[in-house]
C-alpha cells in the first residue's frame, strides 16, 4: 500500500463488501451519533456487523480480514450510503482508514458528504464492480487528477467526479471560503429577496 498525497494517487488492495443498499445506519449506528466531535468514530464503524447483541466482538463478520495498512478502498454493492444525512458515516469510514469507496451507484447525500471530507466515492459500471467482487483483495491504483482507476490485469477506467470537487481536493480549496468570497453576489440576492 502506498499513498502519495502530493500526486493524489492511492495504491492499495480493495476490500469487498458485496452487498447492495448498505445504509448509513449500518455504517454508523444511531447510538453513536450523540458525539459532538468528528473524530474517533472508526471504532464504531459497522459496529453491529462486528459485534453481537451483547456488544462482544465477533470472530467472523464481513470485515474480519479488513486491514487498513493494506486496504484503503471498499468495494460495495449498488446504492451505497442510502438513508440518513449523517456525515458521521464518511467520518467513521475515514477514521477506520478508508480513503475511497467503489459502488455502481451512490446515495446522493452520502456522495456529497464523502467528497466534502476527501473520501472518494468512485462510481464504476456494474460489470467492473462485479469483477472486483470476484477478485477480493485485488490491487488497484486510483489517480484523482486523471479521475481514473487502474485495476491490475483488468484495465483502466475513468470515473465521474464533479471537476470542481476534484479541483478542491487536489488544490486544497476550501469550499466555505469559496462561498464567502461571493459575498457581493450574496448581498445582491439578499437585497432582492421578498421581505
Amino acid at each position: 500500500m502506498t499513498t502519495d498525497i502530493s500526486s493524489h494517487v492511492i495504491s492499495c488492495h480493495c476490500y469487498c463488501l458485496p452487498f447492495d443498499d448498505i445504509d448509513t445506519d449500518q455504517i454508523i449506528p444511531g447510538q453513536f451519533l450523540t458525539t459532538t466531535q468528528r473524530e474517533g468514530l472508526g471504532a464504531f464503524c459497522f459496529h453491529s456487523w462486528r459485534h453481537d447483541e451483547s456488544g462482544s466482538a465477533l470472530d467472523e463478520h464481513p470485515l474480519t480480514e479488513f486491514d487498513n495498512s493494506r486496504h484503503q478502498v471498499l468495494v460495495a454493492g449498488r446504492n451505497f450510503g442510502c438513508g440518513s444525512s449523517r456525515e458521521h458515516a464518511p467520518w467513521a469510514l475515514l477514521d477506520m482508514g478508508v480513503r475511497a469507496v467503489i459502488s455502481s451507484r451512490f446515495a446522493d447525500i452520502f456522495f456529497n458528504n464523502a467528497l466534502k471530507n476527501g473520501l472518494l466515492p468512485i462510481t464504476l459500471d456494474e460489470a467492473v464492480v462485479e469483477f472486483l467482487h470476484q477478485h477480493p483483495h485485488h490491487p488497484v491504483k486510483i489517480d484523482i487528477q486523471s479521475r481514473s482507476i487502474e485495476i491490475e490485469g483488468h484495465g483502466s477506467f475513468e470515473f465521474p467526479l464533479d471537476p470542481f470537487a476534484a479541483h478542491c481536493i487536489i488544490e486544497g480549496i476550501d469550499q466555505m471560503d469559496f462561498i464567502l468570497q461571493q459575498d457581493a453576489l450574496i448581498r445582491q440576492h439578499e437585497e432582492r429577496r421578498p421581505g
Partner: protein
C-alpha cells in the same frame, strides 16, 4: 417552454449560476431561506465556525429544536431528564449554548412549541411555499409538501449555510410522479408513498427532485402531503414537492411565523405563480393509479421492499432478498399479515401529526392492546400533544394500554433509548426499516397509523379494513 415548480424556485434562488467548464467549473450557489437545526448534526458545524472566527450570517433565518437525543419520558422528581447517556445530555446542552450564543431561535425544553424539526417548522408557519429549506437531516424533504424546495444536508454543509446562508449545488433532474384516481377506503398517504417506493425502488429517485401531482395528491390534506414528501429520500430523491394550493394557504394562515395582513396577501399572490406550468416537462414521468394502492407494508430491510398488505412477500431468492428474509425471520412467498407483533410505534416525522393520532385513536377507541404487545405513541410536537390531550386522544391510547409520551423522534431511530429488543417485530409508522435501526436485531415493518393501530389491538400484522367500522 414553461417551468416546473422546482425550476421556478431554483431560478429564484440562484446567487451564482454554475461556472463554465472553462471557468472555475463550480456548481451553482443557491440561497437558503430557512435553515432548520437540531442537536445531532449541528455541533461540529458550530465548532467549525468558532475555529474560523466566523459569525452566523443570518441567525434570523435559522430555527432550532431538540428532538433526536431527547428522552420522551418526563423529568423525574429530582427535575432531571432521563437521558440515555451523559453524551446525549451534553449534545442537547451544546445546541442550546450554540443557539444562545449566536442569537438563533431555539425551541428547547422550556418552549411550548418544541417538536420534531419537520413537524415544528410547518406548525409554526416557518415553512412556506417557494422557499429553499435545508436541515442536517434527510427527512427535510417533508417541507416540500408546501411547495418549497427542501432537502437534507451533511454537517459540513450545515457549516456552509451558517456562515454564508448559501450552498454549492449541482442542479438535480426532475421526476414527475402522477397519481390519478381516488384512494380506496383505509388507504392513506403513507400507503401511497410506500407503494411508490416499492414501484420505483430504493434508489429509483436518485439524482432527481420529485414533484407529486394528480387528483389523488390534490385530494390529500396537508398532513398527508407531508407524509408523502417526507419519504421521498427513501427512494433516493433529493427532495419531494407538491404544488401549493388553497389547502396550503388555509393551513398556513395565522401561524406565528407566517406573513401577516398585507404581507400575507402579497405572499399568496407570489405563491400562486409557483405551480408547474401546463407546458413544462419533467425529465422523467411515472404514473401510478390510485386504485392500485392498498394498505402497504414493508417486509424487508429497506423501504423499497414493499407489499400490499393482502399480498404474500415476494418469492425471491436473490442474495438481497434472502438476507432480508433471514433478518426478518420470514420465508419467501409467505404471508406477512398475521405475524405476531411485539411492539407498535406510532410517531416520527412521517406520521406523528394530529390527523395520524386521530386515525390511530379511531381504531383503538374502546379496544385493548393485545396481550404481549407493547405500544408507544409519541406525538410529533408539544403543540400536537396538547391538542391530542384536549381531544382526549391520549386517554384512548392509555385506556387501551398504550404508552403516551412527550414529543420527539423516539423509536424512529432509537438513539434516545426508546427501542425494541432483538428479534422483536415492530409495526412502525416511521420511515426506515434498516437492520438494527429500531434496536439491535429489531425487525421493522413500516406501515400507516391505521395499520399500526389495527396491529396493536390484534397483536398481529393486520389489515385495518378487516376491523369493521373504525376506518373513517
Amino acid at each position: 417552454m414553461g417551468q416546473t415548480l422546482f425550476e421556478k424556485i431554483w431560478d429564484a434562488h440562484l446567487v451564482r449560476p454554475a461556472g463554465s467548464a472553462e471557468g472555475d467549473g463550480a456548481p451553482a450557489i443557491i440561497y437558503i431561506d430557512l435553515h432548520l437545526i437540531h442537536e445531532v448534526t449541528s455541533p461540529q458545524a458550530f465548532t467549525e465556525l468558532e475555529s474560523r472566527g466566523l459569525p452566523v450570517r443570518r441567525p434570523d433565518l435559522c430555527l432550532a429544536t431538540i428532538d433526536h437525543s431527547t428522552p420522551t419520558l418526563p423529568a423525574g422528581a429530582d427535575g432531571k431528564r432521563p437521558y440515555i447517556t451523559e453524551a446525549a445530555r451534553v449534545q442537547v446542552e451544546t445546541v442550546q449554548e450554540n443557539c444562545a450564543k449566536h442569537g438563533i431561535e431555539l425551541h428547547g425544553w422550556d418552549s411550548p412549541n418544541r417538536g420534531i424539526v419537520h413537524v415544528m417548522g410547518p406548525e409554526l408557519g416557518a415553512t412556506q411555499p417557494g422557499m429553499t429549506i435545508v436541515c442536517g437531516d434527510s427527512h427535510t424533504s417533508t417541507h416540500g409538501a408546501f411547495g418549497a424546495l427542501a432537502f437534507g444536508i451533511g454537517t459540513t454543509e450545515v457549516g456552509h449555510v451558517l456562515a454564508t446562508q448559501c450552498l454549492l449545488q449541482n442542479k438535480p433532474k426532475t421526476l414527475g410522479i402522477q397519481v390519478e384516481g381516488e384512494l380506496a377506503e383505509g388507504v392513506t398517504a403513507k400507503d401511497v408513498i410506500l407503494h411508490i417506493i416499492g414501484a420505483i425502488g430504493v434508489d429509483g429517485g436518485t439524482g432527481y427532485v420529485i414533484e407529486y401531482f394528480g387528483s389523488a395528491i390534490r385530494g390529500l390534506d396537508m398532513e398527508g402531503r407531508m407524509t408523502l414528501c417526507n419519504m421521498s429520500i427513501e427512494c433516493g430523491a433529493r427532495a419531494g414537492m407538491v404544488a401549493p394550493d388553497e389547502k396550503t394557504y388555509a393551513w398556513l394562515k395565522g401561524r406565528s411565523h407566517a406573513p401577516k395582513d398585507e404581507a400575507w396577501d402579497r405572499a399568496v399572490e407570489r405563491w400562486r405563480q409557483l405551480p408547474t406550468d401546463a407546458d413544462a416537462r419533467f425529465d422523467r414521468l411515472v404514473e401510478i393509479r390510485a386504485e392500485d394502492i392498498e394498505p402497504s407494508i414493508t417486509w424487508g430491510t429497506n423501504p423499497g421492499m414493499v407489499i400490499g398488505i393482502s399480498e404474500n412477500i415476494p418469492d425471491r431468492h436473490d442474495p438481497a432478498a434472502t438476507d432480508a428474509q433471514s433478518y426478518m425471520h420470514l420465508k419467501p412467498g409467505q404471508q406477512l399479515q398475521g405475524e405476531k407483533v411485539d411492539v407498535v410505534f406510532i410517531g416520527s416525522c412521517t406520521n406523528s401529526r394530529i390527523s395520524d393520532l386521530r386515525a390511530a385513536a379511531g381504531v383503538m377507541r374502546g379496544r385493548k392492546v393485545a396481550d404481549g404487545t407493547r405500544v408507544l405513541v409519541v406525538p410529533g410536537s408539544e403543540i400536537i400533544r396538547r391538542e391530542a390531550e384536549a381531544e382526549g386522544l391520549h386517554q384512548v391510547f392509555i385506556d387501551a394500554g398504550a404508552e403516551w409520551r412527550l414529543a420527539g423522534c423516539s423509536m424512529c431511530l432509537a438513539m434516545n433509548g426508546d427501542m425494541a429488543q432483538a428479534g422483536e417485530l415492530v409495526v412502525s409508522t416511521s420511515n426506515r426499516n434498516f437492520k438494527g435501526r429500531q434496536g439491535r436485531g429489531a425487525r421493522t415493518v413500516l406501515a400507516s397509523p391505521l395499520t399500526a393501530a389495527a396491529s396493536a389491538v390484534t397483536g398481529r400484522v393486520t389489515d385495518p379494513r378487516s376491523l369493521a367500522g373504525e376506518v373513517q
